[in-house]
């Protein structure tokens, strides 16, 4: 990100500032208009943006295309769900841990558990690269999916209806939609700020160096494996936090959180938003969720009955974005086609050389 030219950086700062101001003003505006629903919708978008941003940390900056990231979102959600079940009937998890609905315990615990599960999974997966990495992360996510489907104590496929939201100290109250919104916004902004600092730090430089040319980075004496593993675990933990928040927002957690197409959704968000950009995943999450939310309705407005077939339009939209908006939505902020940032992230193949990929085949 440092390589972008000064004018681009300035423009980006301005745009980010404007976006943040708009986000801060959204709840009072929506409430004044008598449309509280949009605050809840925006909260869910912010939470998915957090999940997408955590994936972007490893996918965008580390070149690790995880096709199983939704698993960690699901684990975070299940921490809230399982704790709720035990709080409800006074039993204890594995006979040891009592249930709770205390958010001060649950939110950090969700991060901890997701991170702890990400550690061994990352340790095995990071032995591979490229397509193998995509598929092995998918394999672990599928294993966790089937594990949760089989847990009859926690209703298997049916999942857990979380009737009570996590409690947090004043002034945060998850039952109050505006309060929940600002919490989600604060968490997202904090994580993006952390990402910004990380990427600019020595840690981030090693990560990006490993992405561009792992062998060279290793030849320079960096233990790239360890750096990548730390990033993988951190991303998993933050995804877990997003899951815990999402379970609170929807009042439900189930194996569907971990389904492979959810992992696919997260990748879609990152890619259409702009891989390896700070605001990209949030923009991608916003676009995808707004399309999902309003496209059927808009189509029905055009031709009654058309809304039912909305996916026949969503598919080609995704294809067009891939074909023509190659820099993602974040590219629009930079404005200039072929901007410095883009050249850095997605170099065109030089003549006579095979196209460079984000993974090496051998």
């Amino acid at each position: 990100m440092d390589d972008a030219g000064a004018p681009t950086a300035r423009r980006r700062r301005v745009v980010h500032g404007v976006l943040l101001a708009l986000l801060l003003l959204l709840p009072p505006a929506a409430m004044a208009l008598g449309e509280p629903f949009y605050v809840s919708l925006a909260t869910r978008i912010l939470i998915m943006a957090l999940a997408a941003a955590s994936l972007n940390l490893i996918l965008g900056f580390g070149g690790m295309v995880s096709f199983g990231h939704a698993a960690f979102v699901g684990i975070g959600g299940y921490v809230v769900g399982i704790a709720f079940v035990h709080a409800g009937d006074g039993s204890a998890f594995l006979g040891l841990l009592p249930g709770t609905t205390n958010g001060l315990v649950l939110l950090p615990l969700a991060m901890l558990v997701a991170g702890l599960i990400a550690l061994p999974i990352g340790a095995v997966c990071l032995r591979t690269t490229g397509i193998s990495f995509i598929m092995i992360t998918l394999a672990f996510a599928q294993m966790l999916f089937y594990l949760l489907v089989s847990l009859r104590r926690y209703n298997g496929q049916d999942g857990i209806a979380v009737w009570q939201r996590s409690s947090l100290p004043w002034p945060i109250d998850l039952n109050d939609r505006v309060s929940f919104y600002y919490l989600a916004l604060a968490v997202l902004v904090a994580f993006l700020a952390l990402t910004h600092r990380l990427v600019g730090s020595r840690f981030g430089r090693v990560l990006r160096a490993a992405k561009d040319n792992e062998r060279r980075a290793r030849a320079l004496g960096f233990h790239t494996y360890r750096y990548k593993l730390v990033a993988f675990v951190l991303a998993g933990a933050v995804a877990g936090l997003a899951g815990a928040l999402f379970a609170n927002a929807t009042g439900f957690v189930g194996p569907s959180y971990l389904r492979w197409d959810r992992s696919g959704d997260l990748i879609v968000m990152v890619v259409i938003g702009g891989i390896g950009t700070l605001a990209g995943p949030a923009l991608g999450a916003t676009l995808l969720m707004l399309l999902e939310e309003f496209m059927p309705e808009a189509l029905d407005g055009l031709v009654p009955g058309l809304g039912e077939h909305w996916k026949i339009f969503l598919g080609p939209i995704l294809i067009l974005i891939v074909l023509y908006a190659r820099r993602g939505l974040a590219g629009l902020i930079d404005g200039v086609p072929g901007g410095a940032l883009w050249r850095h992230l997605r170099p065109e193949p030089e003549p006579g050389k095979p196209p460079r990929r984000w993974r090496k085949r051998r």
Binding site: F37, Q157, F252, S256, P296, G307, K311
Partner: protein, 387 residues
């Protein structure tokens, strides 16, 4: 999402009930795209036919049905419920086909005190201790059809049964329900994977176990896979196959063809059930949509009739939720099932019938009544419900 305002006849009815100038908004959340959309579309179509049959105005109120595609995903269903309640102001939600989706949206609905009239999903988790005043099921409790088949198999004198169901809560409920009434020997009990494609291994196990009969519960595509493979393995003529209605519903029959002919299944409804309401429903449904209605369509049709009767009994007043719930509990309507009333847990008390799959002269397959298994049957969980 489609908004349909059917105002026909509203003016007349409004005159009869001057107290109310309210509009009834109903959220139709169902599966319209991807796998399982056949069931969702049947539910939607059955419901819309019901709305038409009550003159487009439920309980005399101008009625708007707001449609949403849940993509068979619990999270999407919750989002839709949230939007329909918060933004569109629906007072009643219906349409959900799948139990896991019904369970997922209950907190959202209960928190907003919105009624949920389930046209299909009836999980045990909402029938016993977890029952909710806001939840009404117009179909069945999930165990019921399996219980009826357990009773039938028991009565028919089969003594060695092989049982098969998917490894998920509804599958476990299914076998529990079946064994509640079947007390003979179980020579094999297999839980298959959700969405399993190939059943060759299970078929070999069945052949080796030499049962008198096989009971299976595999809804949707899983059932189609199983029935086709069962016939191809040559087992259909050796070991009779039994299942709940879901395994031989109208949506499945077309796909499995002759493999299903002569098979018995149990349900609370059949297209040839002889009562005026059903005759009208089946005839008009076939006229309108060009296909025989499925069990799911019949349930959604009844859901529309229930809402109409309930709202009417409440005098068209949608603001007093408690009174509305009380009105729904005792609502009288011309059900396509002949008889229907709610138990204390808001699940039906009704008859269960034996049906046989037959081939009509034009080649289409459908179910025909073959007997009555239970009269005024209740579910096993109602006594745990304190409402």
């Amino acid at each position: 999402m489609r908004s349909i305002i059917l105002a026909a006849g509203t003016a007349v009815l409004m005159a009869a009930q001057p107290a109310s100038a309210q509009e009834l908004k109903i959220g139709m959340i169902t599966t319209l795209s991807g796998g399982g959309s056949g069931l969702g579309i049947d539910v939607r179509d059955g419901f819309m036919l019901g709305l038409e049959h009550v003159g487009g105005a439920m309980g005399g109120l101008e009625t708007e049905v707001i449609e949403g595609d849940d993509e068979r995903s619990p999270e999407v269903a919750v989002q839709l419920a949230d939007r329909m309640i918060e933004r569109d102001g629906v007072q009643i939600v219906t349409g959900i086909v799948w139990s896991n989706l019904a369970l997922a949206i209950m907190p959202t609905l209960a928190r907003s005190e919105v009624l949920f009239v389930s046209p299909n999903a009836g999980p045990s988790a909402l029938a016993g201790e977890g029952c909710s005043p806001y939840f009404f099921n117009v179909a069945y409790q999930n165990d019921n059809n399996h219980e009826a088949m357990g009773q039938h198999v028991q009565d028919a004198g089969y003594e060695r049964l092989f049982l098969l169901a998917p490894n998920y809560p509804a599958g476990q409920d299914s076998l529990t329900g079946f064994k509640r009434y079947y007390t003979g020997e179980v020579v094999g009990e297999v839980y298959t994977q959700l969405g399993q494609l190939d059943y060759a291994a299970e078929l070999a196990q069945i052949r080796a176990a030499e049962p008198d009969a096989v009971f299976f519960f595999l809804p949707g595509g899983m059932g189609i896979n199983f029935i086709k493979q069962y016939e191809q393995a040559g087992l259909k003529d050796e070991i009779p196959l039994f299942g709940p209605a879901f395994s031989f519903s109208q949506d499945i029959l077309g796909a499995v063809g002759e493999a299903a002919v002569g098979v018995y299944n149990t349900a609370q409804w059949s297209p040839d059930l002889d009562n005026p309401a059903n005759l009208r429903f089946v005839e008009d449904f076939m006229d309108r949509y060009g296909r025989i209605p499925s069990l799911y369509a019949s349930q959604a049709y009844d859901a529309a009739l229930l809402i109409d009767a309930g709202v009417r009994a409440a005098g068209g007043n949608l603001d007093d939720t408690e009174a509305l719930i009380a009105a729904f509990e005792t609502a009288q309507f011309d059900t396509v099932r002949g008889s229907f009333r709610f138990n204390t847990n808001h699940f039906p008390i009704q008859n269960f019938y034996l049906r046989e799959v037959v081939q009509l002269e034009d080649g289409t397959l459908t179910n025909r009544l073959a007997g009555t298994v239970f009269t005024d049957h209740t579910d096993a969980y109602a006594q745990d419900c304190s409402m």
